[in-house]
């Protein structure tokens, strides 16, 4: 299980995170939602160690990740897969090389085994045969799927996803959400997703943490969102007329 305790993060005079504590449930889709500038991505980056929290701790299965140095973190990092907002594929490598990159560095597998694993991951994200393409030759949705394939190549225990639906059409967004959900259930991965896409929240939000002004404002399941009387959460979730109408019908 991933747990954050009293996380604060300050950039200059700007306190972005103001003491966030939360637990992310194992084998579930944990969603961090909130408006722009609420601190979602900063929290995610603090959890994975890209930002050092100003105060507070992050625990991966009761191991204090914040206190570890680079070398101590490596075993945990090899259990982490991450899909970035813009996929962050390595431009100079083909799809296949991108997926095999962590395998090359952290496993003793033979070239054939690594290739098998890369093909399996590509097949899992429905991109068979795209091995030799470069990221510049892929569409936004395909890049996301290659990003997911790379993230699962090391069979991670934890999957972090930053804005999986940004820049995608609604249909592709749903496909990506379904793929993440399938992988989470199939491999019992603890998935943490940062999003402000309400389809994702309602579709796959097993556990939702709502941030507002750098604080944890609400926590619950996607089913509980419709019934909550939390003013800020209601304003955020049901901002559009469509969502308001959907809520009224419930």
């Amino acid at each position: 299980m991933i747990e954050v305790k009293d996380i604060h993060k300050t950039f200059g005079d700007n306190e972005v995170l103001k003491g966030i504590s939360a637990k992310f449930l194992p084998g579930k889709n944990n969603l961090i939602i909130g408006g722009s500038g609420s601190g979602k991505t900063t929290l995610l980056k603090c959890i994975v160690g890209l930002h050092a929290p100003t105060k507070g701790d992050v625990f991966f299965d009761d191991q204090n990740f914040t206190e570890m140095d680079f070398t101590q973190r490596v075993p945990i990092r090899t259990e982490i897969g991450m899909l970035f907002q813009n996929s962050a594929l390595f431009d100079s490598m083909t799809v296949e090389e991108n997926i095999m990159f962590p395998l090359n560095l952290f496993t003793q597998q033979s070239q054939a085994e690594k290739l098998d694993r890369a093909n399996f991951c590509l097949q899992r994200v429905n991109l068979e045969g795209k091995n030799k393409l470069y990221p510049s030759e892929l569409s936004g949705g395909m890049k996301k799927r290659v990003g997911i394939a790379r993230a699962i190549s090391m069979q991670p225990k934890y999957l972090f996803v930053d804005e999986p639906n940004s820049g995608l059409d609604p249909k592709t967004s749903i496909l990506i959400d379904e793929l993440i959900n399938e992988l989470t259930e199939e491999y019992k991965i603890t998935t943490v997703i940062v999003t402000h896409d309400m389809n994702s929240v309602m579709g796959i939000g097993d556990h939702v943490v709502f941030l507002h002004n750098g604080q944890k404002w609400w926590e619950g399941t996607n089913h509980e969102i419709a019934k909550t009387d939390n003013k800020e959460l209601n304003e955020f979730v049901f901002a559009s007329k469509f969502m308001q109408a959907a809520k009224d019908k419930l």
Binding site: R73, R77, F84, Q85, F90, P102, L105, F106
Partner: protein, 243 residues
């Protein structure tokens, strides 16, 4: 300034930490060597030929006295090429060609979160991205300088053949006479130091880029400018220390 210097030293320290897997890093070193060495050979050849030719013609023009033997043009052109033109001018050109490429490549990786992706995987990003470039700089710039010296002297000979200001036989006699091996050692030390300066400063600028495309461009410009200034400073220091 001291903060930047401290960050630069820390980044270098991180860059030379033990690699996760030597084989993967070695492949990266080879790739960078090809990029720096083979990729720069064309431009270095062109500038070396022309500078060698121009230097010889100018020396011949300035030493037109009948009291000075014509062969002296060859020896002056040789020493100028070995000591200054080949290592320094080539490195200034390389700062523009290789340095801007290093800074913009690493800077783009930073702003597109590719460096974050490396770190998430547990890869020592400075080690994977910067160390191979520094090793390539230190090894390939001296080789390019040797090629530049050869082509510079050849350019001088071609100028003699084409212009007739100095006879080719006088030029060759001048090039061969009173040769001091120390000049080549100085040139190679300069080249290795300049290679390190170009790769490390430009990589540093790229690695700490934040923002977007505009900032990547600014990092590349800063990398080239700082490298050029440091090359000229190091040139003076090495010349003073070794000659």
């Amino acid at each position: 300034m001291f903060t930047s210097l401290g960050r630069y030293i820390l980044l270098l320290q991180l860059s030379f930490r033990k690699p996760e897997k030597f084989k993967v890093y070695w492949a990266e070193v080879m790739r960078e060597m090809v990029s720096v060495g083979i990729g720069s050979l064309g431009i270095i050849s062109i500038i070396s030929l022309f500078i060698g030719a121009a230097t010889t013609i100018q020396v011949a023009f300035q030493l037109s006295s009948p009291l000075v033997p014509r062969s002296i043009a060859g020896s002056i052109a040789r020493d100028s090429t070995i000591l200054e033109f080949s290592p320094t001018i080539s490195s200034l050109v390389l700062a523009g060609r290789v340095g801007s490429s290093i800074a913009s490549q690493i800077g783009t990786m930073r702003v597109t979160e590719q460096i974050d992706a490396l770190e998430i995987m547990g890869v020592n990003a400075p080690g994977y991205l910067i160390a191979p470039k520094i090793i390539a700089g230190i090894t390939m710039v001296p080789l390019l300088v040797i090629a530049s010296i050869t082509l510079g002297i050849t350019g001088g000979w071609l100028a003699c053949v084409l212009s007739g200001d100095v006879s080719p036989s006088d030029y060759i006699a001048g090039v061969q006479g009173d040769f001091n091996g120390l000049t080549v050692r100085v040139a190679l030390v300069k080249a290795a130091v300049f290679g390190f300066i170009i790769a490390s400063i430009c990589a540093y600028q790229g690695f700490y880029t934040s923002g977007g495309a505009l900032e990547v461009g600014q990092s590349a410009t800063k990398g080239v400018v700082y490298s050029c200034v440091m090359i000229l400073f190091a040139d003076l220091v090495i010349t003073r220390l070794m000659l």
